[in-house]
């Protein structure tokens, strides 16, 4: 087990929790950073290292290695937004987002990709984003890859990922190994419920300790409620301390020279909506993208145990080789880890039929297809709304453009699964009982109804809602993340992206956070 980078140091760090606040309080700092995930923590470490006073606000709790027991029943309430039950407004798509110190980096599957060239050029061409040439961004990616130990996974993939590799190989389709941000990984497979051995190089064990070592202050279980404005400046951030998800009836005001927003692509637009931030073109929260995911399960004669081993180590971009602005939607195929609660939600139906599939747990493999949404005019994305209590919800309608992609993906995944030796393939859609032969699957999958709830859809990547670019009518941030209509706000999380990434976004957020924070330091 790797050294605990947190526990032994807590006594000397400037950390507090919501429960530590007993009365209305005013705090002053140079930089107030909202969110401690991929965006916020990188900014915090960079600014602290330069000697600035930094205060990090995190809505979720400060949980770390000692709290991680590889149990879904603990991890979902402690580490995920809405206990892992966050859904789109119509409840048809389940959204997994982190909510603890480290944000989604604490619970993701350690998969890293640089922002694809196709995506960068699309942003340049269609959204006028500047400063994203390959040679300009490369140093940031190189820095990120070094600091987060992002390296190719050279261990033999687990059986679930081998199914994907074998199926692709047998079909003559190119596959590649995934790069992972791990150091001393034990290949346990429980990245999604908090790494119990500190191997995953999340911001929880890297940038947050770095920032705290350099004197930053971290306040967890502190909900950012709204900004107050004075002219074109944010004058203070009003926060509410929480104890076990219950808000205390006091407020904490944070007065800073600069505010950095890294609360994620639902949380960041929501904070600005609650604050009624200036938004002359009504762009905040719109064009939010989620890489909608559909799933295909396979049954094999040999044991798979998709709970065990690095969750994602093999992928193919074969189905992304198209013009995203004009062609049918492209998708990336990966795999997902399985544990009992998650599997129980994925398997459709109930009763004996549900149990029959659950009872095949050791033999179930899976493939997932991540749709590259937001590039085509028929994929406009969703919109963040506020409920009457001010909490955010994403309204995301699934257009026919994406349904066509789901069906094509179910077909492709079924073909790959049969080619890999699966004896039975089940697209996760309640209108099919599954297939024993590829010929049957090929015939029937195109006829599956385009029906919400029948298809179990997921997202673990939320992007957009505060797009960057040069056109004020289409972007609320400039190309380096500065909020156009406020003098002292910079955005460093995935909400800046004007489309989805087309790849797991963690590494992109790391790199763009460095880039935007560096630009901020040059600006002030």
């Amino acid at each position: 087990m790797l050294e605990d980078p947190i526990g032994p140091h807590l006594a000397r760090w400037n950390v507090a929790r919501g429960e530590n606040f007993e009365k209305d309080t005013v705090l002053e700092t140079d930089f107030c950073i909202i969110g401690s995930g991929a965006g916020g923590a990188v900014a915090a470490a960079m600014l602290s290292a330069k000697g600035h006073r930094v205060t990090i606000i995190e809505e979720g709790p400060f949980k770390y290695q000692k709290d991680f027991h590889m149990l879904e029943s603990e991890a979902y309430p402690d580490l995920y937004q809405e206990s892992g039950a966050r859904k789109t407004k119509d409840h048809a798509i389940q959204i997994f987002q982190g909510r603890s110190v480290g944000g989604s980096t604490t619970v993701n599957w350690a998969t890293c990709f640089r922002t694809p060239e196709t995506t960068l050029r699309h942003w340049e061409t269609h959204f006028g984003v500047k400063g994203i040439e390959t040679e300009t961004l490369s140093p940031w990616f190189e820095r990120v890859e070094k600091e987060f130990s992002i390296i190719p996974w050279e261990v033999t993939p687990n059986a679930n990922n081998l199914m994907l590799a074998r199926g692709l190989e047998n079909l003559g389709i190119k596959w590649q190994s995934i790069k992972r941000n791990v150091k001393g990984c034990r290949n346990l497979g429980y990245c999604g419920v908090g790494c119990p051995v500190n191997a995953k190089q999340s911001t929880l064990v890297t940038k947050i300790p770095e920032a705290l070592d350099a004197g930053a202050q971290l306040i967890s279980e502190m909900k950012a409620l709204k900004f107050q404005f004075k002219g074109d400046q944010i004058s203070e951030l009003i926060c509410v301390p929480m104890v076990k998800n219950v808000e205390k009836k006091i407020k904490v005001s944070i007065r800073a020279k600069q505010y950095i927003l890294g609360a994620g692509s639902i949380g960041s637009p929501a904070l600005l909506l609650r604050s009624e931030a200036p938004d002359p073109h009504k762009l905040i929260g719109k064009r939010t993208f989620i890489h909608p995911v559909n799933v295909s399960a396979g049954l094999s004669e040999e044991a798979i145990f998709a709970n065990s081993g690095a969750p994602q180590s093999v992928y193919t971009d074969h189905f992304l080789q198209s013009n995203p602005a004009t062609d049918p939607v492209g998708f990336k195929i990966e795999t997902a880890p399985m544990q009992p609660i998650l599997l129980s939600q994925v398997v459709r139906g109930h009763g004996d039929a549900h149990f029959d599939l659950m009872a095949q747990f050791p033999y179930i493999s899976n493939m997932i297809a991540l749709m590259r949404d937001g590039f085509h005019e028929e994929s406009p994305g969703g919109e963040v709304h506020l409920r009457s209590d001010g909490s955010p919800v994403l309204d995301y309608q699934v257009p026919p453009y994406l349904w066509e992609g789901f069906k094509r993906a179910w077909l492709q995944m079924a073909e790959i699964q049969f080619a890999a030796g699966a004896k039975f393939v089940l697209p996760i859609h309640s209108s099919t009982q599954g297939f024993s032969k590829w010929s049957d699957a090929k015939k029937e999958i195109p006829n599956l109804p385009s029906e919400l709830f029948a298809a179990k859809l997921f997202s673990a990547h939320v992007m957009g809602g505060l797009p960057f670019g040069e056109d004020p009518k289409r972007s609320v941030l400039d190309s380096f993340g500065k909020f156009r209509n406020l003098g002292n706000l910079t955005v460093v999380d995935g909400s800046m992206f004007p489309t989805s990434i087309g790849a797991n976004p963690q590494e992109s957020i790391f790199a763009f956070s460095y880039r935007n924070t560096d630009a901020l330091l040059h600006r002030i």
Binding site: M1, H69, M70, L71, E72, S73, Y76, P77, E82, S83, A85, K87, D90, H91, R186, L188, Y190, P196, V197, N245, F305, N307, S308, Q339, P340, I341, L343, S344, Q345, G349, H350, G351, D352, A353, H354, F355, D356, M358, A359, Q360, F361, P362, R387, S388, D389, S391, S430, E451, L452, F453
Partner: protein, 167 residues
């Protein structure tokens, strides 16, 4: 009025004007959700669990002492956001009320006096409903019941999940 707005915006509240008019009086949206299941909620769940979990898990007669499950179910609910907690309790209220139960599941009589075959059939229909509100309610209840069940390690052996590795 608050209740009407809540229903309209809630997971199970799409165009629920008719359901609203049939609702018993309950909490307003400003009140804290309850922390525990009422006897009526327990009776509703007790009747539905054999259909949702199936005879292969519970045995042919579906009989089981569900007190432990109720406790786990309450714990699951308390981890959810406040508005979701309210939706869950509202759904259980709706299922305990004759008219709204009928509109959601097609069953008029109390679940406890409905034959198991009839319940199985009605829940099957419910699960395939093309009406978003009904389907949504089914999915929400299904996810809660099955998620709560499989969160408990005593149920892992039956599905072949080996449990967490020893470090």
């Amino acid at each position: 009025m608050e209740r009407r707005i809540f229903l309209k915006n809630s997971a199970i509240g799409t165009s629920l004007g008719l359901l609203y008019s049939c609702m018993p009086e309950g909490t307003s949206s400003n009140e804290e959700p309850p922390r525990t299941l009422t006897l009526s909620h327990q009776n509703t769940l007790m009747a539905l669990l054999p259909s949702f979990l199936g005879s292969k898990l519970l045995g042919a007669d579906g009989s089981k002492d569900f007190q432990g499950f109720f406790s786990d179910f309450e714990k699951t609910i308390t981890t959810l956001p406040r508005y979701t907690q309210k939706e869950v309790f509202l759904l259980l209220d709706l299922l305990g009320s004759r008219v709204t139960r009928f509109l959601l599941t097609g069953i008029w009589s109390p679940f406890s006096s409905t034959p198991r075959e009839e319940l199985d059939s009605a829940i099957g229909e419910w699960s395939r409903s093309s009406l978003g509100m009904r389907r949504n309610a089914y999915e929400g209840l299904r996810d809660l019941i099955l998620g709560t069940w499989y969160a408990n390690p005593i149920h892992w052996q039956k599905i072949g999940y080996p449990g967490v590795p020893i470090l």
